[in-house]
């Protein structure tokens, strides 16, 4: 008897709960109803720092007042996680950053609104960037900006090691020999991020990459990639290169800014970070040293995603339009050091920032991120292997990446 009462109570609780679910059980296949009139837009960004947050907030405020809407910009601490929970919660922000690595994941589950044809003059975006945000033949979102990697050199530590401008390495061999000199002057030569987003550049320089150009075949287990990882392993073993954590820094740019390393391989975002946190560091920017197969770097890009479940899609696309004008992109470039995604702004940028030539030139030989769904955990696993590269077996690591990539692409 008592047992039955308890059961009844729980059943009642469950019933109550499900009755309260309302919206949760709705079928979401139908188009989301759109609101009319002035709307309140939620924008979630994965900010690189205070400078970016402030710049986007100002731009959003400008858009809001000129369009009669309101716009709230929220910087996410962990964009992937927050977006994931928001999608599941049926209450995603209207506009949000989408990293090129994540595009296929979001697009394949229908979370993104493919609004590419509604944005004006889409052909003005660099072609490689459009490719990065195209899934199943549809341009899903407008590229926000892009970055490439370059070699950043601390001029004071450089001359302290007895080196001159002419010594800036342009090949792997030169990189090794200057590192030797810097190390003997008592400085760590190179602060190197411990992920494929930095070390991958060496793979490109050796002529390799994780997937084939069309993103359909796994090519991790190749002699080119092995050569690259063995070279990096050599740098690490000789302490020519050190990971940021070994230098008590969150990322390589911080180690560089603190003067703990004479060189680093970072993207153009390092300019803003150095200006804000380490204004006294003097540095120059150079193209990455070329490998056996010539020059190579990585490019990174983010787009303005619009949620398929947004109730304010028109306003959202209108907002993105305002954020991606050449003029607005130059404002962002000034504020936090990114490079405009529109070619029409490119000339103006080069003119204004001659020091960034190495970054812009990188666009010519850069490798974009892997564009395939379900690859994130594979790439994260690759990063894990790279964290232990100094004592690890590069051949086995690449074999593992090959196997995992094949099974991810096969699905």
């Amino acid at each position: 008897m008592p047992h039955r009462t308890v059961l009844a109570a729980f059943a009642a609780g469950a019933l109550l709960a499900s009755a309260a679910c309302g919206s949760g059980f709705d079928d979401d296949s139908a188009d989301t109803p759109q609101r009319s009139g002035p709307v309140s837009l939620q924008i979630l960004i994965g900010s690189s720092g205070q400078a970016e947050t402030t710049a986007v907030q100002e731009a959003a405020a400008k858009w809001a007042s000129s369009s009669g809407n309101t716009a709230t910009v929220t910087p996410a601490q962990d964009l992937t996680q927050q977006l994931g929970q928001a999608f599941a919660g049926d209450s995603p922000p209207d506009v949000f950053y989408v990293d090129a690595v994540r595009l296929a994941d979001y697009a394949s589950v229908g979370a993104l609104e493919p609004y590419g044809d509604k944005i004006s003059n889409p052909d003005d975006f660099y072609e490689s960037l459009r490719t990065a945000f195209t899934y199943d033949g549809k341009l899903y979102c407008a590229p926000k900006d892009f970055s490439t990697l370059a070699l950043v050199v601390n001029t004071d530590l450089w001359s302290k090691a007895g080196l001159t401008e002419a010594d800036v390495p342009t090949t792997w061999d030169q990189l090794t020999s200057v590192s030797q000199k810097i190390k003997s002057s008592g400085t760590v030569p190179l602060a190197l991020g411990d992920t494929r987003d930095r070390i991958g550049a060496f793979m490109v320089q050796a002529g390799g990459w994780i997937t084939s150009a069309d993103g359909k075949t796994a090519t991790a287990d190749s002699p080119e990639n092995l050569q690259a990882l063995q070279y990096v392993q050599g740098l690490l073993k000789n302490k020519y290169a050190q990971y940021p954590k070994a230098l008590d820094a969150g990322w390589a740019g911080e180690a560089f800014g603190k003067g703990k390393a004479a060189m680093t391989i970072e993207g153009n975002w390092i300019k803003g970070a150095l200006r804000a946190d380490f204004p006294n560091v003097k540095y120059t920017v150079h193209p990455l040293p070329a490998g056996p197969k010539g020059q190579g770097t990585l490019s990174f890009t983010t787009c303005w995603g619009v949620a398929a479940k947004s109730k304010n899609k028109d306003a959202a696309v209108n907002f993105v339009e305002a954020m991606t004008t050449a003029e607005q992109q130059m404002t962002f470039a000034k504020a936090f050091g990114v490079m405009p995604s529109r070619q029409s702004a490119g000339a103006q940028f080069t003119q204004q920032y001659p020091d960034d030539k190495a970054f812009i030139d990188g666009a010519g030989y850069a490798q974009g991120p892997v564009n395939a769904p379900k690859m994130d955990s594979v790439l994260a696993d690759f990063d894990t292997g790279l964290q232990g590269l100094a004592n690890g077996d590069p051949k086995a690591l690449l074999g593992r990446v090959q196997k995992n990539t094949e099974s991810a692409l096969g699905r």
């Binding site: 308890v6 109570a9 729980f10 609780g13 469950a14 109550l16 709960a17 679910c21 949760g24 059980f25 709705d26 079928d27 979401d28 296949s29 992937t80 996680q81 994931g84 929970q85 999608f87 599941a88 049926d90 994941d105 589950v109 229908g110 979370a111 411990d194 990971y243 954590k245 070994a246 230098l247 008590d248 994130d376 955990s377 594979v378 696993d381 894990t384 292997g385 964290q387 232990g388 004592n391 995992n404 099974s407």
Partner: protein, 335 residues
């Protein structure tokens, strides 16, 4: 009359507790059980039609399918096993040792020491993790101490070398013997299985032992104070030395507390999450990945909610089994 109103009052009194636990504990567990049988990708509700039902696939991917999910899961199990093997004995021994010293009759100001040892237990795990991140930083306190005695401390949170691998390295075994490297069980090679906890994990182990010992010391202290004085005096007269007294008199007397401390230790060490989240997020090289954190990451970062829930249930099962085995073993030894 009385009983009917009493019955009504009884139900009213427990209603809030029953309702909340039902809706926010029992119901969610059932929901998660369902989700663990689906391929829900985190879009919209998992309870509408169209969410693919995959049966036990999420579970088999953890055990029988060769691939990244199994490799990650087994790595997390390995890490947690080493963590349990070090934390549980260490915290139990330290707690018992401190309790024995504090319990010495001739010592004064016991209250102060008891407070000092217990204090870390009541503070926020997040706040304490922040402190230990600094203590174990490359230029932090621990390495400064090691430096003072001439040891070049490791880069704690960037050091993925396993302790046993390091030890083998000191006797010249740097590369895995072929027999260990070429044969794998459940997705990890034997060489990977016997790695030992990584240096990074050791820092977390130190933190956890440091925070939990205080609570367990209080439990031991309460048990020690309950031992009748005559028992101790009788053993003194028998001429037993200190070790014999501990082994044959004290420990048998506090066996229930010992069981409790070990059980609570086993249960809580399999749940380690906060410290991992704050200090390492499973890095470096996945050597601080634990099932609890992996479950969270799989669901909320990789959007594999089904597999994340499956990991949760496997972990739940592990904890239940641990408790039962422990209970059974202590019963065996008692009889």
């Amino acid at each position: 009359m009385r009983t009917r109103s009493e019955s009504l009052a009884g139900w009213l009194f427990v209603a809030p507790v029953v309702l909340i636990l039902g809706v926010f504990l029992l119901l969610p567990i059932l929901m998660a059980l369902w989700v663990s049988l689906t391929g829900w990708n985190g879009q919209g509700s998992p309870f509408r039609s169209g969410v693919p039902f995959v049966g036990a696939d999420n579970y088999t991917s953890l055990f029988t399918e060769d691939g990244l999910p199994r490799q990650d899961f087994m790595t997390s199990i390995r890490n947690n096993v080493y963590y349990v093997l070090l934390v549980v004995p260490a915290q139990t021994a330290l707690a018992l040792g401190l309790a024995l010293v504090v319990n010495q009759r001739m010592l004064k100001r016991k209250g102060f020491f008891r407070t000092a040892f217990y204090f870390p237990s009541v503070t926020s795990s997040v706040a304490i993790s922040v402190v230990f991140l600094f203590v174990f930083a490359n230029s932090g306190a621990v390495n400064a101490l090691l430096g003072a005695v001439g040891i070049d401390g490791p880069v704690w949170f960037d050091d993925s070398r396993g302790l046993i691998h390091v030890l083998l390295g000191t006797v010249g075994v740097d590369n895995p013997p072929g027999a260990l490297a070429n044969h794998s069980v459940l997705g990890l090679t034997w060489w990977d299985w016997v790695s030992g906890p990584s240096v990074a994990m050791c820092a977390i182990i130190v933190l956890v032992v440091w925070t939990t010992s205080g609570t367990f010391m209080l439990m031991f202290l309460a048990a020690l104070q309950a031992i009748p004085q005559q028992v101790e005096e009788a053993s003194l007269i028998d001429g037993a030395n200190r070790w014999q007294r501990l082994r044959f008199v004290t420990i048998p007397m506090i066996r229930p507390t010992m069981f409790l401390v070990l059980t609570l230790g086993l249960i809580s060490t399999w749940q380690v999450f906060d410290q991992i989240y704050v200090m390492s997020q499973g890095n470096p090289a996945k050597t601080t990945l634990t099932p609890a954190f992996l479950s969270y990451r799989t669901a909320f970062k990789d959007f594999e909610y089904g597999r994340g829930a499956a990991i949760s249930f496997v972990l739940f099962l592990i904890i239940v089994v641990m408790t039962l085995v422990q209970r059974w073993m202590l019963r065996e030894r008692r009889s």
